[in-house]
Symmetry: D2
């Protein structure tokens, strides 16, 4: 009753009869024909345009998140599209809903660890200090019996080629700083502590966590990058489903086999 | 029981220990550092890389779909994030679910009309023939008492500046063909038939429908382009909500006012 | 700017320190311990309590919608739960999103046809008049080359036992009126017109459409009944998935087979 | 490649031309006309029919979860329905997605604490032992600086009348056992430890956690009960939105105010 009202305010976008502004830019002259979709995503999230270097690295990060083949999310999207082809948005939404802790949580976790460890630290923090932080992080994860996010991969061994490429692009474009060093230090510390030399390299998730931190993107939005990338991939799966349908066959096989102990 | 099994087959992506392939390309060398997110979306949907011209036009189309300010979808995303901040994917999914017939259906409808009208027609179909098709389309919509998709706008008058810019970019890049001409012919036919000269120009939706048809994208995937663009925008709204929250205030005001006839 | 504000108003529920009211009733004394979940759904949708007869019939209608075995929705829910077990709500939402035109649209379509045909008609409309309406409905569907909603079933032949049971319960409880007669008349008309005697009985969907119309529920909410019933079933599938997981196996098989033409 | 296949198996439901079985029961004779929707939910989740007492208590638990007035979920559902009225399932799904840690997580947390504390304990565990367990739980939550789930309420003071009613119904129906006692012990321990006598009673969430534990329902499905109940409520909000629309007004006000610092 006596609640104090706060004013609603947003700077995302605004338009009238002749003007359309997005984040303070003119949509027609500043964005269309100039910005690619990844750059626009950077603008939306960070509130400013990326530099040319940031554009390359940010688009490469998103590229690693687009297409992971026939994941549970992709199958869920295809099955949902089978039932509701008139609501393509629902099929994509269904797929996105599978991006939880199991598949998308580690990027968030890794970015959080990096950002919390380096909060308030200078950009030129020395390598030995970073290794001390890395050791502490590994020690804490082990004490809490939690996996160390951002390192190792069940399939991509001995290195995750996406991480290698991301770090390479970051170095080429002058975006490899303290977060990258700390992430690599975590890998070194984990291999030493767990006595698994060469077996726990930084994976794609860890590299994305490090680079998004270099770009100043909050760990709270890490999952948002995954959602953006994967949406592109899920629309791609619907495009393929239109040409070569899978969903009906998966459904029929599953239905038949799962009740065959009753139906004989 | 005697159902014939068909083989499940997909060419979206595939990987082993050292290789990661997407649509037949190598993720690390062919995509990362080379393709922007819009180009990757084109690859996913069309199964081939865009040309430089297609890249510009396709990214510009997506750009018109990213940010429409404080839409119902954006508000739904923010309210959902308020309740489930740990599941950012759910908040984006909630927003996407509002992209139905009211807000996203017309692009689909316009693209379908264009593609069905020109199915099997040669690329060099003559202007007079296109105008006959346009007249027929307008006549049919009127007979069915349905709105003519892709023309007119309640706010952007007398022209929708996004459509102007999209047609300009398409012309510059050699991608303005029979679909663009037909869409413009529909506007002309509608203005003449409804006696509203200069009041029913092609809108952003109609321009996107025409250009996606020029790029060979099926009308069934029109809504997919909207979903891709809007996902970027919804993640942007979450980024702003983290800095300047709105959702709690909207909730409290709505709850208070809507029950004030009871609570007094 | 000069937009006129309308007042936000809702009578769904309201509470203060000691009272909790729902639709004008006291939650603790009028609802808890007295109403079952189906009755509460009736109250929410219709704004009044069901009679004892309405309660039986309405709960039976919902019961037909709960569990249809291993549907695409159930599989999508299980796959989503695999990826995001911490967000059970997302897994259920993913399953619900498959309830589109293919699986849930016909109940809506059948209810709409019945309600539009009988709008303004007296409850004691004579049988011959109803048969004329039924003939007209069948004729219109055929002319529009649309399936006649609510009749026939690919598996449940010659009759759909759920429809039989629903009509039986409605008759027993005095809830079988003009909508039931019209629905049955549509079946008769279709069998005569298409020369398929005994092959196009009213199916479960048609019976639900007829009974929800008898109960005064708008066709616009038909899909809502399906959503309520199916939510119960999807939570049931998650309960089973916790005990006997399927999703991981479906994923692995699908991933392996769909890329086997590449991986060999 | 050499992955071992496990057989897909489900006992949820199955049908052929004349029979429809759900969880081993005949849908037409055992369920329709006999089970209300809450009982059916119990069958789906627990794999057996509830007793008459369990039916009353379980339906009362669900009843507390249906309608909480104009919540963020309800507003999100209405806004989504505004954009996609043809996909009612999407509007309900959007609302469900807001049932995250903020609004639904505490029931899960409370049930987990109760079930883990009493795992393997006999049903006749003595009151003093239960109070020791309660003290330990409160101590651990405080040490971890986490809120104690299931006690206290910002509005319903000094007691949450729903909890009072749920405990009353459980006692009447012989379903008040060790979990109820432990939950009440947690309240006592918290009030003593935090020196807030009479201020931290068990709330509705805590009572539901205790009663679902008495019924043998895993804490992993606690959120499922909330999802079932709230789905009913969200369909109710759509029913009201059809009669007295709010969403358009909320949208327009929010859009206007949030950009008024730019538009003037």
């Amino acid at each position: 009753m006596s609640r104090e009202r706060t004013t609603l305010r947003s700077d995302m976008g605004w338009s009238d009869a002749t003007r359309i502004r997005v984040k303070g830019l003119d949509l027609m002259t500043d964005i269309m024909g100039r910005l690619n979709l990844g750059d626009f995503a950077f603008l939306e999230i960070q509130g400013r345009l990326p530099t040319a270097s940031e554009s390359v690295v940010f688009n490469a990060m998103l590229a690693t998140l687009v297409e992971h083949g026939m994941t549970p999310m992709a199958i869920a999207t295809r099955l949902t599209y089978l039932g509701a082809p008139e609501s393509l948005q629902g099929a994509v939404a269904a797929g996105l809903l599978g991006m939880g802790t199991t598949f998308a949580g580690t990027a968030e976790g890794a970015a959080r660890i990096l950002q919390e460890a380096l909060a308030g630290m200078p950009n030129d923090i020395a390598q030995p200090e970073l290794q001390v932080l890395a050791d502490t992080i590994v020690k804490r994860c082990r004490e809490a019996r939690q996996p160390i996010p951002g390192i190792g991969h069940p399939v991509h061994k001995p290195v995750d080629p996406r991480a290698t490429r991301l770090f390479e692009l970051a170095a080429e474009h002058g975006l490899s700083g303290k977060f990258v060093t700390l992430m690599q230090g975590i890998s070194t510390a984990a291999e030493r502590t767990l006595n698994k030399p060469g077996q726990l390299p930084v994976n794609a998730t860890g590299a994305i966590a490090a680079l998004s931190s270099e770009l100043g993107i909050s760990w709270r939005l890490s999952r948002g990058l995954a959602v953006i990338g994967r949406t592109v991939g899920l629309v791609g799966h619907i495009a393929e489903e239109l040409r070569y349908p899978l969903a009906q066959e998966i459904w029929e096989r599953t239905e038949q086999e799962s009740s065959s102990h009753i139906t004989g």
